[in-house]
Assembly symmetry: C2
């Protein structure tokens, strides 16, 4: 039987996630098997305790912040890669496997597991499935949902849902598995995941393009996405994010640059070469300058700039508001202009960066929770950004989730009938509402 730990220091360690929100849990459990997860769910059900499933706590929406009166169920000890099936290109893993570890293991078989959230060195596959995590490679390879071909989970009744068939086509039963993906622990605790793998591409190249105008950069993204060159990453950084990084690192980027695109290409050597030629043509139209990384060291350097943005912003404004709205790629340029205007209107820097190629932008409103006036303006600006996004046919969150952080905005996108349907479905899995209650919807 899995023990439920109640040591005070431990409870504090598991009381928060990457949003900084916190709530002390009643206990923390570290099950090592599906059977132990069942026992814990059964126990909590009997004792009327809530459950907060937890991967690595790297989420940006508060999904793993403990609910009041809850036991945190951490999957960190269920961390085995059960099987890499290089015949059928599948990996069967436990939920606590760290994403980067799965990627490395797949790579040893000549295979690739593409989803690459920025936290990949610490986040877990279970958490990635629960939030439908994305990352830069999503622009070519899709998000976690595109790789989950089966899973097992303990639902709120303490029954096991299991769909682990390794076939490529299956119309037997209802297609329930995708419902767990992105459900943020509200339907079940994932105990195993069957993931698709793909062959590792022959080669990869990384490009950096500088623009004197942010909207031009947005327009170039659209031109690239329309062209036959499919980048494996297409990231944008605005001047504010560049300046933030500059405060902490020496940057050889000219001062008058308003936008940067980071473009990664992979495939056969020939494909990559052809794509680079096409991209050069597009960049010429915008007078954008181009650097091509010539070795791994330069590549690592460029990626480290991109990954340094979020921590740099955190240093400057620890309580900034961080959104990950998504618009149709064709609307990217319009969206960037509108988000920047919201910043001007409320007198707050609005920093835009992220996965431009699939229209998923991390919009950061640089405000301060400790200054009531600034905070109120920040909240107003965030609401306006959501309204603009929905008006452009976009959505409130592309990959971070709703959790606690965005729940109050849900009405902007989801109507009452839809929410009632979600609630009825939730009750099929969790009739006592013990799994991550009051999150997501």
């Amino acid at each position: 039987m899995a023990r439920i730990e109640t040591d005070k220091v431990l409870l504090e360690t598991y009381s928060y996630d990457a949003t900084g929100r916190e709530q002390l849990p009643k206990g923390v459990a570290f099950p090592e098997s599906e059977e132990e997860v069942r026992e814990i769910v059964s126990l909590c059900r009997t004792k009327n305790l809530k459950i907060t499933p937890r991967g690595a706590g790297t989420g940006f929406a508060g999904g793993s912040v403990p609910s009041p009166n809850s036991i945190v169920v951490s999957t960190e000890r269920m961390d085995k890669i059960v099987d890499i099936d290089d015949k059928n290109l599948l990996a069967l893993v436990e939920p606590g496997v760290v994403t980067a570890h799965l990627q490395k293991t797949a790579s040893e078989f000549g295979l690739m597991y593409p989803p690459d959230p920025s936290s990949l060195e610490s986040c877990t596959v279970g958490g990635n499935v629960a939030t439908n995590a994305g990352g830069p490679k999503a622009v070519k390879y899709g998000v976690t949902a595109d790789y989950v071909t089966g899973l097992s989970a303990v639902i709120g009744t303490s029954e096991v849902y299991q769909d682990l068939s390794p076939v490529r086509k299956n119309v037997v039963g209802l297609n329930v598995t995708p419902l767990f993906v992105g459900s943020e622990g509200t339907l079940g605790i994932i105990t195993k995941v069957l993931l698709k793998l793909v062959p590792k591409p022959e080669t990869r190249k990384l490009l950096l393009a500088h623009f004197r105008n942010l909207e031009d950069a947005g327009q170039a993204v659209w031109d690239i996405m329309k062209s036959p060159a499919t980048p494996s990453a297409l990231e944008i950084m605005d001047s504010t994010s560049i300046e933030c990084v500059r405060k902490y690192r020496k940057l050889d980027i000219p001062k008058d640059i308003e936008g940067i695109l980071l473009i990664e290409l992979d495939g056969t050597k020939r494909e990559v070469k052809e794509s680079i030629d096409k991209i050069k043509e597009i960049l010429k139209r915008y007078n954008a300058s181009l650097e091509i990384a010539s070795n791994q060291k330069e590549e690592d350097h460029i990626w480290s700039l991109r990954r340094a943005i979020s921590p740099s912003l955190m240093e400057i404004a620890p309580t900034k508001i961080n959104e990950d709205v998504t618009v149709p790629v064709s609307e990217l340029s319009n969206a960037l202009r509108a988000y920047k205007n919201v910043g001007k209107k409320y007198g707050l820097p609005v920093v835009c960066f992220g996965h431009a190629g699939d229209g998923n932008i991390h919009v950061n409103i640089m405000t301060d929770r400790n200054d009531p006036k600034l905070w109120k303006r920040g909240i107003k600006a965030a609401r306006e950004i959501f309204i603009i996004t929905v008006a452009l046919n976009g959505v409130l969150s592309g990959e971070h989730g709703i959790g606690l952080a965005k729940k109050s905005y849900l009405g902007l996108q989801i109507n009452e009938e839809q929410r009632n349907l979600y609630k009825r479905i939730k009750l099929c899995f969790d009739p006592d509402m013990i799994l991550n209650p009051k999150k997501k919807f």
Copy 2:
């Protein structure tokens, strides 16, 4: 208000599907809008009538055979392609659009809608979504589920579920849309579908390979799928299916051939050439002979052989048992041997053909419903084929669905807890159990 027609000839026309099963409906409705669908559902709910949603009735599992005391809701008048968004590579269509018509229209924009069930000249997108239809191209491009990015549907409460956001990443709300895909009309009547499109490949080549041994052909499929050559179709035909076609058509295929592979490749000219070289190498190992179609006429001829199998078998044994089991591709050769052995054991020809590249085989047991002894043997053989399939980690149906035809075998694959979960989910959408009752699970 949509009229409910009750003309006797019309009722008879809508009383059966491609399985040949039949049941007279109480009426047939031809709504022209979502609002009319709502009215019909509302009316049926009040009058305690059941509803049988229907696309073109081409299904092989009885999904659109009218339920007793039901109104058939045909979507054939909701047949508009609302929009082809060649910016974001999306098509918004009504459910009654014929699949081939969508393909042609997408093609005019330089785009492709890949799912290609054999009935594509008459089947509809709504039916394809309801059954998660596949087809030869699924081996490279995936099934209908891989293209449905949003939909709207009238559920059993007469409410509208709607998720038509054109973004590529969305984690807002529960991921309910995939639940409709393959649900065979048990959750709602689809009123609109938002589908992904892909760029049309530059070129295409069709190859035909002859094997003296069926298991060799199965093994070669596996070798091809492991190689870097990803075919856009990889179909297998056994000697019995070849002989059946031979009865109706002049064939220039030698008599001692036990297996044929039809291999289609698409992509850039260079990619296709490289893939052909790789496939030649593989075929050499099995002493298989190879023909490459040199023009459209030869290609059409080869595809027409493949498409002639099902009708030819129907001519010979109109009440044959037609299954579409699916196994992991690595098990294909074992599965083919085992299915053939079942035929020998029961003294019934077992004809195997279909989508070898994704392990989805159409296994036809040539029996006769009018001969009780033969029929009983056929049923026993079918059960044994299902048991073998599940033992090989396969599934009862890859693309045809469960409908009425396979319901009694569901217990071989799905346990009671799972089925109860399906039933609870069904009730969220259809609390009065009026939508296609007693189908699917």
